[in-house]
């Protein structure tokens, strides 16, 4: 990969600014390996919980003109098995890995972080923002600055890994939430999780398309929302941001970096342009850097 794509993030030098976000592909060591080989510089596992979860019934995804909705329902084999996948991945590939974890209380997140300490994962990401388990767990934790603060604080008291807080777009003040995460000691933010949730209806069967009725909105339609929220959050925190939401091209990566992100996640884009999207976008970034006269991706800074 081109040296121009290399970028520093929390003490690591990544081969590319592109991140495989939580929930995309990453259920197995093979999946993580595939994304790494396709050009992602940093890989995130599916969100792991203390106990295994089967997730929601099918259908779990549905597309519309502007993007897609999904309600996977946090399916995962549990933190122990999930981290074994990271171990198997690390036997073959050196790329850094974020262990995404999902709990319902500061105590659960503390316990999850203790598992991650003993694993091969390089970072821990706190999924505070899944929009698809409202029936089960109520409003996402990242809707309240107090719960964000408490959970990040609790994890920071035990974690030997840098802590990334994944935030929801569905909040009144992203600044408050981002500040709460930073004040509690978060090392980075990851944003945005999917929007909504939303709903799609089959007019012939007269039923919601998703079994869960509602599902988080992702894809191209998310881009302006993501850029605005990242722009706002990065205006008030100093910690780096993994930006995501509608990134499907090299130009989108530049845009989200100009909004204030350090790295860029690609999720729904895997559907639109195939798993090779990471390679394609890496190439597009290099082309942009060359044409616009940047030495490397690190030189693309937040706009005013």
């Amino acid at each position: 990969m081109s040296k121009k794509l290399m970028i520093d993030f929390l003490g690591y030098t990544l081969a590319s600014p592109l991140v495989l976000p939580a929930g995309i592909m990453g259920i197995s060591s093979g999946s993580l390996a595939r994304a790494a080989n396709c050009g992602a510089g940093l890989l995130t596992t599916k969100s792991l919980s203390l106990k295994p979860r089967k997730g929601h019934n099918n259908p779990v995804t549905a597309c519309f003109e502007g993007g897609m909705i999904n309600a996977m329902g946090l399916c995962n084999p549990g933190i122990k098995e999930g981290l074994e996948e990271v171990r198997d991945f690390k036997k073959r590939i050196e790329s850094p890995v974020i262990a995404s974890v999902f709990g319902t209380s500061p105590e659960e997140f503390y316990e999850l972080a203790s598992y991650v300490n003993k694993s091969k994962a390089d970072f821990i990401e706190l999924n505070l923002s899944c929009p698809n388990v409202l029936d089960e767990f109520g409003v996402p934790l990242s809707a309240s600055k107090d719960s964000v603060y408490k959970i990040v604080k609790s994890v920071k008291s035990v974690s030997e890994r840098p802590v990334i807080a994944k935030l929801s777009p569905n909040v009144l003040s992203i600044k408050e939430i981002a500040m709460a995460a930073q004040n509690a000691g978060a090392d980075a933010l990851s944003m945005i999780n999917s929007l909504g949730p939303g709903m799609l209806i089959d007019i012939k069967l007269k039923r919601p398309v998703l079994a869960n009725k509602f599902g988080g909105v992702s894809g191209p339609c998310l881009k302006p929302v993501a850029q605005k929220l990242i722009y706002e959050a990065s205006s008030c925190v100093k910690i780096p941001i993994i930006g995501m939401g509608g990134v499907i091209s090299g130009k989108d990566v530049i845009e989200i970096k100009m909004a204030g992100a350090t790295l860029a996640g690609i999720g729904a884009g895997v559907f639109y342009r195939g798993i090779e999207i990471f390679k394609k976008v890496n190439r597009e970034i290099v082309k942009f850097l060359n044409e616009a006269g940047y030495e490397n991706i690190g030189e693309v800074k937040k706009i005013k």
Binding site: S28, G55, N58
Partner: protein, 267 residues
């Protein structure tokens, strides 16, 4: 890429046997043998089903009634509607003027019937072996015969055709003739044995994995160690691809993503 979802009326329901039904849809789709659709009533679930027939104006899917969801589907009648996405996945290679051996076990048989039709259209000589637990579970026998192929039928209990397995019949055939191409669909352990017995002959098999999104993003059906997605790069895989998969014949993953080891597999 665009998602291909449509809501269709079931035109006909064919009862293949006590536990197997075929839905026929009057709708033109562009599909090759081996591909699958995701079918849902938007009420009780959604699962992948191989396409078992496809011509200019209609297509069919054949399913074994095994659980709660397929149980609900079996109550549907002509005129009822279902939601369909697809077709998805890879297709079997259709050569021209070759000798082809088709081997199918149980639920693996219907997509092979679709394959047989396409092979015959291109002047291939087709020998088919189908295997079932027992005669009452046999399917597609008449359909095969309509295409002019007389399938060798094997049953575990000898209640229909000869007693024995698909492998037994395949080994007998390979002693007498050497096909140019072998195709297989059925239980994974059978597929592995067919590959092992194929003796240097090109071979394509149809692999099954638990599916969720079917559009290549959720990772549920990705196979270790290379993350091959059965919904996109599969379900039809050749020997070379299978050779890269340590997971094949060893384990699959349940809805949570946990490994489930196959009975008798070494791990």
């Amino acid at each position: 890429m665009k998602e291909k979802r449509f809501t269709l009326k079931i035109m006909d329901v064919i009862y293949e046997n006590e536990k197997t039904i075929t839905f026929i849809f009057k709708h033109k789709i562009k599909s090759g043998p081996g591909q699958f659709i995701m079918l849902s009533d938007l009420e009780n679930g959604e699962k992948p089903f191989s396409i078992s027939s496809c011509d200019g104006s209609s297509f069919g899917v054949t399913m074994k009634i095994v659980g709660e969801f397929t149980g609900k589907l079996s109550a549907l009648k002509p005129g009822d509607m279902v939601s369909i996405r697809g077709p998805y996945g890879s297709t079997f290679t259709i050569p021209e003027g070759k000798r082809c051996l088709i081997t199918g076990g149980g639920c693996g048989v219907p997509p092979l019937f679709f394959l047989a039709g396409r092979l015959i259209e291109r002047n291939n000589t087709v020998t088919a072996v189908t295997g079932f637990k027992t005669g009452s579970e046999a399917m597609c026998v008449n359909e095969f015969e309509k295409t002019g192929i007389r399938p060798v039928i094997m049953t575990d209990d000898g209640s229909l055709g000869a007693r024995g397995t698909v492998l037994d019949a395949m080994r007998d055939i390979l002693k007498k003739e050497r096909p140019d191409m072998i195709y297989a669909a059925g239980p994974e352990i059978m597929l592995k044995k067919v590959m092992d017995a194929s003796d240097g002959i090109p071979c394509e098999i149809l692999v099954e994995r638990y599916m969720k999104c079917a559009i290549g993003i959720c990772g549920q059906c990705a196979m270790d160690p290379i993350g091959l997605r059965v919904c996109v790069e599969g379900p039809v895989l050749n020997k070379r691809a299978v050779g890269l998969l340590s997971e094949f014949g060893a384990y699959r993953r349940d809805a949570s993503g946990a490994k489930e080891f196959f009975c008798g597999a070494t791990h």
